[in-house]
Symmetry: C2
Subunit: 573 residues, 2 copies
């Protein structure tokens, strides 16, 4: 239990630091606006008229206070601060139905939390599929004592974009039969992509039109203007709804130094894979005698791509921005070369000297089988045969006030039946809807094995990047086929596993992670693919229920469903 003690120490350190910390306070208004994210007009969810939303620049220990006013006509809204642990403020995590009620149109809700540790993070909508409507932005938390050395930095927020509205997408996915939304029309870098033209068309024979941009075009790429012989930190985050991405910079190597806000043992690659929900920092050393511009390319991996690469320029200051690169954009590695992907994933290991190793033993183990299923012929995703239906009353409030009818009190299974054949479509395609959660006492070590399987039809197993709220976890290992309980644990990396908040489970494989229940609250753990989550692919962890019962939670977070009723009736009791 040495690690648990260490974690508690860290919490104390943060608390001390924050006594002298800054307060970052902003007023945000969320509303739809017409925008041209990919040189075609669409409708985005903007913050204060900006798309993507404003970047938050904080220092570890700072207090962030964001007053979010919902200026939408009829829709609720929330903002999730992806990568922030919300220690002591689980109600500020921004997961609708889990930690708070959606903010009603015309109302303002104040998020007030400490950014507990440094890292490259982002924020995004977490209600319906509002993230996919463009409700996202960067959240950079700097370290007061940064150990990385670099001369400048850039943020690259990567997303995917559809021309179909999210309302239509949500309905399509919820229809019987389900209508798949298809691959994105465009990839966006900092909210900018090109659908009807290519910046690199001059390299291709026929087909695409060469882009020409007018000043202030909302789809014109932001070039990365660099000086020679310097080191730049690229802070890269993926808030895609669906796509797994690969990023490369032509003629330059990338040194991976940070993943999900944690330092990793540096390694150098020609390109990185990035799954939805992940962030990376890479260091890029510029050439000493540059004479031209270079392409930065972002392409699709992990699914058969049907979306053009997103491009922008690495622009050396002595070269005009308008000079076309003389070499074509990097070719994105083959989408289904999973061995290549796994090789990259397995390179990511904890940096030495920063983090203690994980606890050697776990106290509890969940083996979560993800399956694609049917409920009454509606297509769903299920975990251990339960497709999550998030209740109208946020769990955090139901638990605090002991409202036992707000959700299914029976927990979903801790594992799945031994005879399930993950290599085949489910023998019984039908599953069940549920709102049950997993309950953990404080201070224990939990292992979660994500187990992938074949989808409903055909011989396909999809990629799922799983994101845990309120925590980092150690990624103990990846494996092929079905997890062998009692055997595969022996291969866990307990020496230098990376700390992350998002991890992928590969087709027909498993991924093992470990975390310590040191953060009282209710934490969503779900596939970060927006349509998969919409179809039920998530679970919920309640941690330290007795602590939640004593916790101060603003009434405004619980003004819906049964908690609203409970709080209103309080006056009559």
């Amino acid at each position: 239990m040495g690690t648990v003690v260490w974690w508690l120490v860290m919490v104390v350190v943060v608390a001390v630091h924050s006594a002298s910390a800054a307060v970052i306070e902003e007023k945000w208004e969320v509303e739809y606006t017409f925008w041209w994210p990919d040189c075609k007009e669409g409708i985005v969810m903007a913050i204060n008229g900006q798309f993507p939303g404003p970047t938050i620049n904080a220092v570890a220990g700072d207090r962030v206070i964001i007053h979010v006013t919902n200026k939408l006509s009829t829709e609720g809204v929330v903002i999730h601060w992806h990568g922030i642990h919300q220690i002591g403020t689980p109600w500020a995590d921004g997961a609708a139905g889990v930690t708070q009620c959606a903010i009603n149109p015309g109302e303002t809700f104040t998020y007030n939390f400490t950014v507990d540790k440094a890292g490259t993070h982002f924020y995004h909508g977490h209600y319906g599929m509002q993230r996919s409507a463009g409700l996202y932005g960067m959240l950079i938390v700097r370290s007061p004592k940064e150990t990385l050395r670099y001369d400048g930095e850039f943020n690259l927020l990567l997303t995917d974009w559809w021309h179909q509205s999210i309302h239509s997408q949500e309905l399509a996915l919820s229809s019987r039969p389900m209508r798949w939304i298809g691959e994105p029309q465009s990839l966006l870098i900092n909210g900018r992509g090109q659908h009807n033209c290519s910046q690199a068309a001059y390299f291709t024979k026929g087909g695409m039109t060469q882009c020409t941009f007018k000043q202030n075009d909302q789809c014109a790429p932001q070039t990365l203007r660099v000086q020679p012989n310097k080191v730049y930190r690229l802070r890269i985050a993926s808030s895609t709804a669906l796509a797994t991405l690969n990023l490369a910079v032509e003629g330059h190597k990338l040194e991976v130094v940070e993943a999900d806000g944690n330092y990793v043992a540096p390694f150098t690659v020609s390109d990185i894979d990035i799954y939805s929900g992940e962030t990376y920092s890479v260091l890029l050393k510029t050439h000493s005698t540059p004479s031209k511009n270079h392409w930065i390319s972002v392409g699709v991996r992990g699914r058969k791509p049907n979306t053009p690469q997103a491009l922008t320029l690495l622009n050396y200051i002595n070269t005009p921005n308008s000079n076309n690169p003389t070499k074509p954009p990097p070719v994105t590695p083959r989408w289904d070369d999973y061995d290549r992907s796994k090789t990259f994933s397995k390179k990511i290991l904890a940096a030495k000297g920063y983090y203690p190793p994980p606890p050697e033993k776990s106290h509890d183990q969940l083996i979560l089988l993800n399956t694609q299923n049917l409920i009454n012929n509606y297509t769903k995703w299920a975990i251990n045969n339960v497709s999550l239906s998030v209740p109208a009353t946020p769990y955090l409030g139901s638990i605090k006030y002991g409202l036992k009818s707000a959700y299914d009190l029976k927990s979903p299974g801790k594992t799945f039946t031994n005879d399930y054949d993950i290599m085949k479509p489910p023998a019984n395609p039908n599953t069940n809807k549920g709102s049950g959660i997993y309950n953990f006492p404080l201070g224990i070590v939990v292992d979660v094995i994500l187990q992938n399987a074949n989808v409903l039809k055909g011989r396909i197993s999809e990629i799922h990047p799983w994101h845990l709220h309120g925590h980092d976890f150690w990624v103990l290992g990846y494996g092929e086929g079905k997890f062998r309980r009692g055997i595969d644990e022996k291969r866990f990396n307990l020496k230098n596993p990376p700390l992350r908040n998002t991890v992928v489970v590969y087709p027909y494989g498993w991924t093992a992670l470990r975390f310590v229940t040191d953060n009282p609250g209710v934490w969503f753990f779900h596939c970060h693919i927006e349509p998969h989550l919409h179809m039920g692919m998530g679970v919920v962890f309640a941690e330290g229920v007795n602590r939640i019962e004593k916790m101060d939670i603003p009434d405004e977070a619980l003004g819906c469903g049964l908690t609203r009723k409970w709080l209103m009736d309080r006056g009559r009791r």
Copy 2:
């Protein structure tokens, strides 16, 4: 004050009747669904999977209990019972922000009200532009002692339909510069229209394709199957978002007998105009020796039309449904023949012997000038220089609990400046947003003069059908130009003015109406054109504030904004 007494008597009679009345109780689920309203796929707001929503068939005095569950992903919802007075139950009126909070996704709200008097009514969404998304249905209240004689009846719910989503429409209207949504793509009769074909194409040379329908086509017209030599009551309601309609039945006269749930002195016409928010009953006498089918046509008036007629068949039982009529559909009268429209409006007078005349004098008078304006270059509609911005906290709750910061306490002006030239664009195009309301004591007689004017640009004055919640009013007269206070009152019809809940104000003209403040509550009074209301064209009447303060209002109606906070804090006080 004789009339006031009569009204109070009527309330008592209803109360007595309801002691023996039936209860109509239904569970409704509201959700989006793909549908083919006009032979082209779109997305509609359905109730229990039906579009339009289910018809409610009640008898005057019945109690109607509808449990509405919001199955939308992120949007709130309410239902307004158009034409029902909600005596004693103003919280059940279903006007979001006025009488209740929108129902949150996943939650259920119970409307529980008495249908106080017989009439042809309908219900519809009253949040954002959800009515335009197809959230509507018929609400028929029969009289236990019907005096009209007829052999059968049909409901015709008339609406207009756009291919652009309401979310996109709302944004377009709220954009700077405003983007007008244009004329509807289709007109629908009971939710059915034809966009890509015409049933009567065989009458026209070239152009349109003749429709052929497959069984169960959602856009196939419902024919009105009739027997010879009988009298049928057509109950017609218009829930259009924009269009003024004209309905005619080829080869048949229509005897108008009811308007907005009130009997009118019968008169016979070849066609009727119907404005959004209005209902009519007409009696149609079938031919004695029929040998063919006849077209029922619905076309656009009052705005330059760009939408094909909606058609369905009057089908005599001895004639196959598939026989095409031998005469073409009736031609809709010229859209801008306002003299014809006014002639029709002025024919509508109260039936003798049913209703007392209005009180001879009024105690208060509002002259409401409607103007199209700009606020910070956003296009708005304003009344007496205030563009209504409905607050996040419902007025009904703010008033009950005395929450004075929930809305502007200053009432908007009771009239407009004398020198305003209604024949020209506003000299100062700018106006102000506001949430102030008009307060009336109980038991007084109020006159409202709706004053039309020129729009922002050009020489145009638009039609506005105004609908009052919670009341019928007497239509005392229509006039041209600017209302002359002290003069035009002398021309008011105090003998047999019709009782209505919706009335039109013609271009460059005025309309006078009178009502008695006999219904404690907060009542929306607004232009029933959905985009106009969205742009601020409405006012709010609070009636009997001291009675509202003592009224029982379910907490569930007030679970948003400052009333939620008030009700939650009650427990701490």
